[in-house]
Subunit: 391 residues, 2 copies
């Protein structure tokens, strides 16, 4: 009893992704105190490296001491006061979650929808903005439940023209596709460590520009969450005094430092290119196997997370169990209305490699064929390989 010997998986679900050995080793480093001058130096470097992947110069850029969903909550509880109006774009589970979180923070929420699997239409946002004035317009950049990549720039501009702050959920985009927060006009964003950053789950990097910080610092009411109150946390992560707020999760900060340095060393452009090519190869492979992608518009497909329908006559659970038990491969099932209907394959961070594409295609072809699914043998591998070869 009480054995800790986790199996050696290949994590190709919607996150966590595989962490690089250097990132895992960082977590084995001895602890130091959360007020240690040396820890402060590490914190500063983490903030600087985060600015790089966010594409921002925002001073208030830091990892919150909890997972991505707490980052979402951080943004809403800090920006929203009871009765404030928020326009939330919903085209997947994480949009739904945003609505719930914003309402719990006291927001009056107006929703703009798109069917799951499609991007939000800027015209519908414009329509909603024409009817009311909002404090916040929020959208998911990379919808983890559907695999949709949302173009942001146009909607950001619309939000600003309305006088609203523009908020982006970057949990699955950070480190996988460019965010360019400053260029796009993102006023506040949150993300996670366990997707394309390839650090273990546990932190949520957030960033707020000066407009957003002004809103926080001029609130009339206290932030309802003590733990997520940025007016206090900002004094620990920045400023001269480094006032104690809560005990920072030392090992997790080591891990994100190591993970971000790996990205920095590879170079952001190379990282994005690797995700783009690897994701496309998987998508071409799946299509060559006769499988149908959920996201119809190729421009709105995330390279780091591919969603596709479970073929007729094939059951969800048994296939994923066989991938897990025979291959040690984890892929994701569907969430919400898509549960049991789709699979999700993540190629994120350290998991985003040619060998994983070829392996998961080989495994899928073998398992599905064994279950009676008809497809042309080897077509998937050939199609994927052609993408890697630049053909």
């Amino acid at each position: 009893m009480y054995q800790l010997n986790p199996p050696n998986r290949i994590l190709l679900g919607p996150g966590p992704s595989d962490a690089h050995p250097q990132t895992l080793q960082a977590q084995a480093l001895p602890l130091i105190g959360h007020m240690d001058p040396e820890f402060v130096r590490i914190m500063n470097e983490v903030a600087e490296l985060l600015r790089e992947v966010y594409g921002t110069k925002n001073q208030l850029t830091l990892p919150m001491s909890a997972t991505g969903s707490a980052g979402m909550e951080t943004v809403f509880v800090n920006l929203i006061e009871p009765g404030d109006k928020a326009l939330i774009c919903e085209n997947g589970l994480f949009g739904v979650r945003m609505i719930d979180v914003a309402e719990r923070a006291g927001a009056e929420v107006t929703v703009v929808n798109a069917p799951w699997g499609e991007a939000i239409d800027p015209a519908k946002v414009q329509e909603a903005l024409a009817k009311d004035k909002f404090k916040v317009v929020a959208i998911v950049h990379a919808e983890t439940s559907t695999g949709v990549k949302q173009p942001l720039e146009e909607i950001a501009k619309m939000a600003h023209d309305n006088g609203a702050l523009f908020v982006a959920d970057c949990v699955t985009s950070i480190g996988g596709i460019p965010i360019e927060a400053d260029k796009v006009g993102i006023d506040a964003a949150y993300s996670g460590t366990q997707k394309c950053l390839s650090a273990p789950p546990g932190l949520s990097p957030v960033t707020f520009n000066e407009r957003a910080v002004d809103v926080i610092m001029n609130r009339k009411t206290k932030v309802q969450s003590w733990y997520l109150d940025l007016s206090m946390i900002a004094k620990y992560w920045g400023g001269a005094t480094r006032a104690y707020h809560h005990t920072a999760p030392i090992s997790s900060v080591y891990a994100i430092h190591a993970a971000l340095k790996l990205i920095h060393d590879e170079g952001l452009e190379n990282v994005y290119k690797r995700h783009a090519v690897t994701g496309l190869a998987l998508q071409k492979g799946l299509e060559a196997m006769g499988l149908e992608l959920v996201v119809k518009n190729p421009d709105h497909r995330l390279p780091e997370l591919t969603t596709f329908y479970i073929p007729e006559g094939i059951e969800d659970g048994p296939v994923r169990s066989r991938l897990l038990n025979e291959y040690g491969i984890e892929i994701g099932g569907g969430l919400g209305v898509l549960a049991g209907k789709i699979w999700r394959i993540g190629l994120m961070g350290h998991s985003c490699r040619k060998r994983n594409v070829m392996l998961v295609l080989a495994a899928l072809e073998t398992v599905l064929s064994d279950m009676g699914y008809k497809c042309e043998k080897g077509a998937a591998l050939a199609a994927a390989d052609a993408v890697f070869a630049g053909k």
Copy 2:
């Protein structure tokens, strides 16, 4: 730039404490998914091991995915609905924090105080309870800002006679002194990993008995925090379906598993005895050096966290800097009204060892003497050694 090579400290502050090498190594294990059957098994073992240190059979016992202060917030946002009355005992910074957190959750708070450094007087609690009816009575078991150990049993009974739930902050008590939640009558408690459990900071173990769970499940309003909403989290940590809520911090769960197993293997009685003897040795040593302990009543002194006044004419900062720079030893300064006036030495978990007592006494004697403090040379070491020798 971007170097991650933390110095090798000896952590004798108020937490984090040193983690055992096995605990750190657990964090270097490869990640698995948060819905992986093997991870579910690990979660179950963590819950079972936590029940052991909490002294409870409570089904709802789990580590929240954030640090100790988020555990405090978890208890209040789940138990309190706007307008509910809470009686909060305050005799240190973490009592003050409780008041803030409870008020942000909408509680009408009544406060019972004691001077910092003293325990809460049950008679004063009785007095407050005689005047009103409360939903919750909350108290800090081990006040990290003062070193006070609070006897709980009498106040727990008073709370129950009032019809209130009894809540205990066990952040610095868990794994250091017995909690015995079921025996004492604690209805809900929260704690941290980075003190006497000697795991890295990042999780907050909580426990709720059936009375408390009934309150949560029969709320009229939604919990204001989505991230900390136990009605959802309970379905991930227990029950047949394991419904996804947020991505659990895999490595941190490995770490707490390893840390709890070390405690389980040593045996709780031995762990408590080690803390009791080691803490007493330090306290006798400091007194032999002529230093004055903050907590006057020996029965109310925490063995795992000793507080003492900075002697007249000696400055706080320079001493702690010398301990850090010359010895690699971290001790804590004072918080709130005690800032600059006291030092806090933690002997928690893996840090709680004879060699650390002797080293910190030797270092303190040397540094303080060098700064002009007069004391009998060697008296501290002799007094401490006598305690270890059972004299």
